[in-house]
């Protein structure tokens, strides 16, 4: 089974996770830029983070046979901090990079005017750069936030097929399906979505334009939720081709719209270095 996790924050994960993911069938991931659990206080901390998403992290992933791409954006939460507003001005440099397959995560956290401004400007940048977008939907007041997100997306003029609206649930899936956007589901150990609920949504709403991710990060989360969902789909009677469509075909089709998703097989190469440094420790 081959798996593409379309949303996972590998920067926060260990090499054990990479090993377990490879063993479970994960061969490609997209890491959206997001916040780090603690606020950043300057533009420079963002650019160092973006550089790591484009440099060190793909190198680390490749050591375990996994291809790593990223999405770049000013996230909605930190869009509210005026010290970080300058991130919007450096984004064009990053959106031109080979490893960037979408603008994201953008969207709403608390639906403030600063979030409105950041969302609108970044949708505009996505159109200019011909990139798809990954849109985060708020945890609080989700249905209202998702509807408002879809309104802003429509007004921006970006084609709906270039938009992935993420963290959906039973109450928000239909409005996104009707919009023509792609639908993302984050399967978490305790909150958001479980494997069984995910399977029921796929049974009721079909597998077209649906992406399943682990959204694993520095919080309690599980980088193998994609595989566990795939297993739950098979147990519920989905055939292998349909599982492959959800776990591989759909994410490849969505991010492939960037024109930058060249997924040649990577072979782990222990002798490879990144800027002269490696993941080895003394004695190896």
């Amino acid at each position: 089974m081959r798996i593409f996790d379309p949303h996972i924050h590998m920067t926060s994960r260990t090499t054990d996770d990479y090993e377990a993911m490879y063993a479970a069938g994960v061969r490609a991931v997209v890491e959206p830029s997001f916040w780090l659990g603690q606020p950043r206080t300057s533009v420079d901390s963002f650019t160092d983070y973006f550089d790591a998403l484009l440099g060190w992290e793909p190198y680390r992933a490749a050591q375990f046979g996994i291809q790593h791409r990223c999405t770049i954006a000013l996230n909605p939460k930190e869009a509210n901090d005026p010290r970080c507003a300058g991130v919007l001005d450096v984004l064009p440099r990053y959106l031109a990079k080979d490893g960037v397959v979408a603008v994201g995560e953008i969207g709403y956290d608390s639906m403030t005017p600063a979030e409105d401004e950041a969302l609108a400007r970044q949708l505009e940048l996505a159109v200019q750069h011909g990139l798809p977008v990954l849109v985060h939907t708020p945890h609080r007041d989700k249905a209202v936030g998702t509807r408002r997100t879809l309104d802003v997306v429509r007004e921006s003029g970006i084609p709906p097929e270039h938009v992935l609206v993420d963290h959906l649930n039973e109450l928000t899936v239909s409005m996104v399906a009707d919009s023509g956007c792609w639908m993302g589901f984050s399967v978490y150990p305790h909150t958001k979505m479980s494997e069984d609920r995910m399977v029921r949504i796929l049974q009721e709403h079909g597998t077209g334009r649906k992406l399943v991710n682990s959204a694993a990060d520095w919080g309690r989360s599980d980088p193998l939720k994609t595989r566990k969902t795939a297993d739950a789909m098979l147990a519920a009677g989905f055939d292998a081709d349909t599982v492959d469509q959800v776990m591989w075909g759909n994410p490849v089709a969505f991010y492939g719209q960037s024109g930058r998703l060249d997924l040649a097989d990577v072979k782990p190469d222990e002798t490879a270095l990144f800027e002269g440094n490696s993941i080895k420790r003394g004695g190896e």
Binding site: G55, R93, A96, L273, E275, G276
Partner: protein, 238 residues
């Protein structure tokens, strides 16, 4: 950039890539800020493979974009410094390889690109170190920095024939440093990279002063063997 690199680039690029580059050069000529988004995109439009003389296709295409910038002196330095700051290693190496070309067409650029050379020399990326040590570094690095750059190449396994200006700039102090390095290797029972010998040989007495020849009487057999091999290489017998 030597003219043969330009010619090689023209021969190499497929029509579609050539069109993209021609358009990108025109955009940069009209609006220098355009370089900030076309420079990172070069690899996927023009290719990343080798071209000639250690240059990749992307290096040469990027050099052409930099040459098209309608900027001079400090403004030119500021723009290319930001490209380097936000660049991945392929972008950084292209900036480094382009420095001599930028100075050739704008004398007021002078040594303003030197901080980028120094940054590469602090790092561990051998590709960037090699790209930094072109004719621009040979012209502008002070004696001490140039000698340490050569020594770093020896440590990193970068062949010294890739370092510009070595014949003209190698002095007695560099010969001493390389002879001491050779002695250190021999004392560890290890081989000495052969490209240090021409510099050491050119300064009589440097080898003797290092204490390396005394290693032939070492009580340790691997040190003796390493010393014999090193002396044979020094005299040109091996």
């Amino acid at each position: 950039m030597a003219p043969h690199i330009l010619t090689a680039l023209d021969h190499h690029l497929a029509p579609e890539a050539q069109r993209w580059l021609t358009d990108a050069v025109a955009r940069v000529g009209d609006d220098p800020a355009a370089v900030r988004t076309v420079f990172p995109a070069v690899g996927r439009h023009c290719g990343r493979g080798p071209l000639a003389a250690g240059w990749t296709v992307a290096d040469a295409a990027r050099a052409r974009l930099l040459a098209a910038l309608p900027l001079r002196g400090a403004a030119l330095a500021e723009e290319i410094t930001a490209l380097h700051r936000y660049g991945d290693s392929a972008e950084q190496r292209a900036v480094l390889r382009s420095l001599a070309l930028l100075e050739d067409s704008d004398a007021s650029f002078a040594d303003l690109g030197l901080p980028l050379v120094r940054a590469a020399l602090w790092g561990n990326d051998t590709d960037l170190i090699e790209a930094a040590l072109g004719p621009y570094a040979a012209r502008h690095l002070d004696e001490d920095a140039y000698r340490h750059a050569v020594l770093k190449c020896v440590f990193c396994g970068i062949p010294l024939d890739r370092v510009a200006g070595l014949t003209e700039r190698a002095d007695r102090e560099l010969a001493r440093m390389l002879a001491d390095f050779a002695h250190e290797r021999v004392a560890a029972g290890r081989d000495v990279p052969s490209d240090v010998w021409p510099v050491v040989r050119a300064h009589p007495g440097a080898l003797e002063a290092s204490g390396l020849p005394g290693e032939v009487t070492s009580s340790s057999s691997d040190r003796r063997a390493a010393a014999v091999a090193a002396l044979a290489a020094f005299t040109g017998a091996a």
